[in-house]
């Protein structure tokens, strides 16, 4: 995270603390969707993830005067939402019966390794996905979003599993090459340095 981003976050947070609703909206705009995706990455239930994050925003708003952020707004938010997911899993409202693998996943995902993607970035990626050939895009969506297996996809579209495999692999490569061009993702820096 850039220092500038941190300073902007801190400024908005301090403004919000002193009762600036506009600043609260800024923070909400910046973090609401990414935090929902973060919570969803564990429980795989977007509606519940949204509830958890909405409750979190209500809570920080109510308690804003007593909350002291030590390091960064982003880390504090990630940490709090992670704890809310914990509490949800342990509460009566939880409909997931087998929570062990989820708890394991939460424990194995250090906060500093989780990248919260900004909404604008994701919208740019969306435009990129739109550029894929139609069939490949369809296959990618079925796989990544609807979590269908290669076999299921091959049955749905009436193509061979091998084709599905090649198409998905190519779609990923297309994204890798083009995301790199966008200079959006620091991750790919080390590839260049090699």
């Amino acid at each position: 995270m850039s220092l500038l981003k941190k300073i902007m976050d801190d400024t908005s947070w301090n403004k919000m603390k002193s009762g600036d609703k506009q600043a609260f909206r800024l923070i909400f705009d910046e973090y609401y969707s990414p935090l929902c995706l973060y919570a969803n990455s564990f429980i795989n239930d977007l509606d519940t993830a949204e509830d958890i994050v909405s409750d979190f925003f209500i809570k920080i708003c109510e308690k804003r005067e007593s909350i002291e952020i030590k390091f960064s707004v982003k880390q504090y938010f990630l940490f709090s939402v992670k704890n809310s997911v914990y509490s949800y899993l342990r509460s009566a409202a939880n409909k997931i019966t087998d929570i062990e693998p989820i708890l394991k996943k939460i424990d194995n995902t250090p906060l500093e390794e989780y990248d919260l993607e900004k909404e604008e970035v994701l919208l740019q990626v969306d435009k990129l996905i739109e550029k894929l050939p139609e069939q490949r895009r369809k296959i990618l969506k079925l796989s990544v979003f609807e979590r269908k297996t290669y076999i299921e996809i091959s049955e749905i579209l009436g193509i061979s599993v091998n084709t599905v495999n090649t198409q998905i692999s190519r779609a990923y490569k297309f994204l890798r090459d083009n995301l790199d061009d966008y200079h959006l993702f620091l991750l790919f820096m080390y590839k260049k340095s090699k």
């Binding site: 909400f28 030590k70 880390q75 504090y76 919208l123 996905i129 979003f145 290669y150 495999n165 990923y172």
Partner: protein, 240 residues
């Protein structure tokens, strides 16, 4: 094996579509130097594209409207409201605290023991109102009532505590490698017998950690995590 093949295997693995034979291949390439970076890239792309599809489903504006209905931005009013709420709780608690002990001055002090099997989790509310969430494989001992000057419980395993505030009766969690003392706060302790480390993570409030002889090891602030190695007694404090 060429990069292309590794790439394909990583993608397949992420989508849980590896065949038995491919699984063997996958395990073989694990130690190739390029494997790690390829796998990282694939994972990242998987997450970004899945988030891209998902983000369109998030009902941000609708939730914003809901939130705005529930919050206030009039700082002064909320302060008084909040203060009166605490004052009321304080007065009620104080009067109960004075009246009840008069009636039950000889209440029982039986120690209770709870054991969570593996694959089992549980929640307890102690007599002082403290909430305890117990993780699997945890043993927890607590008295039915806290009569002495301290609220002492014993833990072997992992638990999250939401401790009811009581400045005069500190809440102490005894583990094999140290004592965590708090007054009113939320925190998590992981101290399994067969784990080499004990970790204490503070969520809100303040806690102090002492070794078994009462020597102060650390004072935690929210989002601090304290770790101690049981055998080497190496300590560390990090922010998470």
């Amino acid at each position: 094996m060429d990069k292309n093949k590794i790439w394909e295997l990583c993608v397949k693995d992420l989508n849980h579509c590896l065949s038995e034979e491919e699984k063997k291949d996958f395990n073989k390439v694990n130690n190739i130097s390029e494997f790690c970076s390829i796998q990282k890239q694939v994972k990242r792309i998987h997450q970004i594209s899945s988030d891209t599809f998902l983000v369109k489903k998030v009902n941000k504006e609708g939730e914003w409207k809901k939130i705005v209905r529930q919050i206030r931005f009039d700082a002064k009013k909320t302060f008084i409201l909040r203060f009166s709420k605490y004052a009321a709780i304080f007065i009620i608690a104080l009067s109960i605290g004075i009246i009840i002990p008069k009636f039950y001055s000889h209440s029982s002090k039986v120690a209770n023991k709870v054991e969570m099997n593996w694959g089992q989790m549980g929640k307890l509310v102690l007599s002082d109102g403290t909430h305890v969430w117990l993780n699997a494989g945890t043993t927890f001992e607590y008295p039915s009532s806290f009569d002495s000057g301290k609220r002492i419980v014993k833990l072997n395993g992992e638990a999250q505590f939401k401790v009811t505030k009581n400045k005069r009766k500190p809440f102490e969690v005894k583990t094999k490698s140290g004592i965590v003392r708090v007054y009113g706060t939320t925190f998590n302790i992981s101290s399994y017998e067969d784990d080499s480390d004990m970790a204490v993570t503070l969520i809100e409030g303040k806690v102090t950690i002492e070794d078994l002889n009462g020597k102060k090891l650390a004072v935690l602030n929210p989002s601090d995590q304290f770790k101690i190695n049981k055998s080497s007694l190496k300590k560390g404090l990090l922010q998470i």
